[in-house]
Amino acid sequence: MKATDWEVVIGIETHAQLATCSKIFSGAATAFGSEPNSQACAIDLALPGVLPVLNREAVACAIRFGLSVGAQIAQKSIFARKNYFYPDLPKGYQISQFEHPVVSGGGIVIPLENGEEKQIRLTRAHLEEDAGKSLHEDFHGKSGIDLNRAGTPLLEIVTEPDMRSAREAVAYARALHALVRWIGICDGNMQEGSFRCDANVSVRPRGQREFGTRREIKNLNSFRFMQQAIEYEVRWQIETLEDGGTIRQATVLFDPDTGQTRAMRSKEDAHDYRYFPDPDLLPLSIGEDWIANIRAEMPELPAQLAQRFQNEYGLSSYDANTLTANRETAQYFLDAVSAAGAALAKPCANWIMGEIAARLNREEREIAESPVRPQQLAGLLTRIDDGSISNNIGKKVFDALWNKEGESADAIIAAQGLKQLTDTGAIEAMIDEVLAANARSVEEFRAGKEKAFNALVGQVMKASKGQANPGQVNDLLRKKLQG
């Protein structure tokens, strides 16, 4: 019997904390890591009689997101109450959007392994408030409640079940993560919970139209865990079905220590949230002019920019996508190219993705903190390009720039005497000395050993302390040996 060919179906819900200064319905601050309950005002505590007032900036973030994914921005959307009891939910309901979300549709393009691209469709994105946190340690059998996070604005972004592998799911999550940071609506800090993904996973025999029963993996707070959790879950579902079992709809948690998912609650325990429109808030109206203003201030999006890098600078799709992984890198590249000239775009890209990325990585720094500024990099690449220095000397100059030994490549080249030697007479003199001192190599070359030629080139370069133009050395040496 032929084994069933299973198809994996994944949809993702992401809670992105919006980078507003204050909460979505109160004036309390949203900074992370403050003393428990020091950022919870009367509204966040749900004292009797308090009322919510919508934070305009949170709405602007939602509009920015909608525009960046080509979605519909609803002219009128409704805030609804999602009712359930939990100690870190002070009002006994969460203000969210249910039937009429602020953003509908749109999509995000992800790169596939085969070099092609795939569009992941978005169902919706809606605004809601975060809950507080229950702290179960250090309270001697009791639980503590920290309401600092209660009321932090969230944009919940929901996809269609368009992903077909853990890898695609992670590619989507990475693309979304890059996008929300790019447009400045979320800091993307996954450790602090600013960007939290839930994955709905099901499997079905390939060719079957109906979806399998899905299980939802909650709170995947790193891309690595997401990949592991989905892979484990898929294996588990396939094994369960192949062993004749059935999948029951459930919410599961991923345990990074065991690498396994385990059921938290089944559908039977599902709450009836008794959604209804929040009578304390008017319908959210978004006028065309507001959308137009935000559209005018939108940065060029990563996909557009990557395309432009390919068209204008002849970069490969891979390079263009790497340079647009975040806004700071793209800006660094643009600044370097603007100083060096478009002709040097490719070396700019190579150095940013090579030398600079490696250094930053080693020192755990962000590109915005790079000691070598884009203009300095441009100056260095210009000198390599015009032959003033070799590529190898270039790396030396780069080191000196990184270590702040000089203000510019030119200054370092001058101060350290690194300018490339191009004077034919001087090079010929060095060649003569080397030939005189290496009679054996000369013999070997004449006997037909090409390797011996390279050894001689090396000797000349060494004699010039690396400053001789390698091309010139090659030409002159060959001429002499053959002459």
Binding site: A46, L47, G49, F85, P87, R274
Partner: protein, 497 residues
Amino acid sequence: MINASLSELSRALSAGHISSVELTQEFLRRIARLNPTLNAFITVDEEKSLAQARAADAALSAGTAGPLTGIPVAQKDLFCAKGWLTTCGSKILSNFVSPYDAAVVERLNEAGMVCLGKTNMDEFAMGSSNETSFYGPVRNPWDTGRVAGGSSGGSAAAVAARLAPVATGTDTGGSIRQPAAFSGLCGLKPSYGIVSRWGMVAFASSLDQAGPMARSARDCALLLNAMAGFDPRDSTSIERAPEDYCRELDAPAADPAKPLAGLRIGLPREFFDDTAPCDPQTSAAVAASIEELRRLGAQTIELSLPNVRHGISAYYVIAPAEASSNLSRFDGVRYGWRAPDYSNLEDMYCKTRAQGFGAEVKRRVLIGAYVLSHGYYDAFYLQAQRIRRLIAADFAAAFTQCDLLLGPTSPDIAFALGEKTDDPVQMYLTDIYTIAVNLAGLPGISIPCGFAQAGEKSLPIGLQLIGNYFSEARLLNAAHRYQQATDWHTRIPEGIE
């Protein structure tokens, strides 16, 4: 002084005939003497009141006083007042001292008024007789064997018994107008959005509105001047230019004998026919008041509000639905009363809410949770919202033909304590004329229009006038002209001197 109007009090204070401290002390003495019988106040704090009075006296002598400076006011106990116990008539808030002021409290404080205390009310404003209060029922000053109405029963009894010159109330389905009618007062429920709900403990957010309770339309207007105003903290507050609600009251009439000439009053058939059977004495008093208004120059027009008959049904879906959610915050976790013994979190929730809420509150929370639950939402909640829109459309159509609508405030006079407590539906029906006004968000006022004989006692009858959105000034003017021609509102209950 206890029978003086706000304007008279203001003049006496400005002229130095009496100080705010003296005036406050006089009312505090009356509260000490009469409150044990009437149970109108839940909390009195003489020191706090006198401190405010002293500050008012300082403002009066400094010449920085406004028209209400130094005048005492009683606050319904669902307005949060900083440092005051704020119970909402419930055990679950029986230990809640508010750390902040409601917008209404803030505004009256800024106006220099002196808070005399927090008045009794039906628990979370759910009731029509003030019998659901954890603090016991309020007794009607006109007959202490009868209810004062509800939910603002404490405010009504306090003003009627001259324990306060004026009081605040809130009205979700008639909670200002019905107790005003039962107690011989003038009570105004303003247009939804006129008075900020910030700091008002929510019952049904889309219906709740605060308003003044006083002995005359003019006093209502003066207090509303201080209460109303846009508040960015309440998203349903309406941004409008400030109004002087007294402005029409003193405008000279072209024909002094007919000050209401040109006013068209609509008489909705449904307020007078069998759909809402009315006590005969109430019907007769209302009929007489129509005659009086015609004498004052008003025209009357018969018309129909065909969907108003569904008001009670729609209200008892929408209000409990909102309440079930609004009251979820009273969970024993952060503040308020918590059951003393529990085994785990769920047990704590269950016991706190089972023991902390009274029967009527629990009934409405259950109804509300039911009508919002999956599978019932469309049939109940959405249907009720449709009815609500139809009712609003009925009123809108009516106001193309007339300026005001008129009818009884309640089908009956104040009933005996305990008379309706076993039959919630009978209790709900006492609000049959008032509820539609809340559903539509319109302003409505109840004014005394006569007295009914009940045994040896005489009990007040209320007349309701309903206006179009933001027509409070016109509504108050009609009430004021009627009160200039009649003396029902000047009568004083026996035994409170």
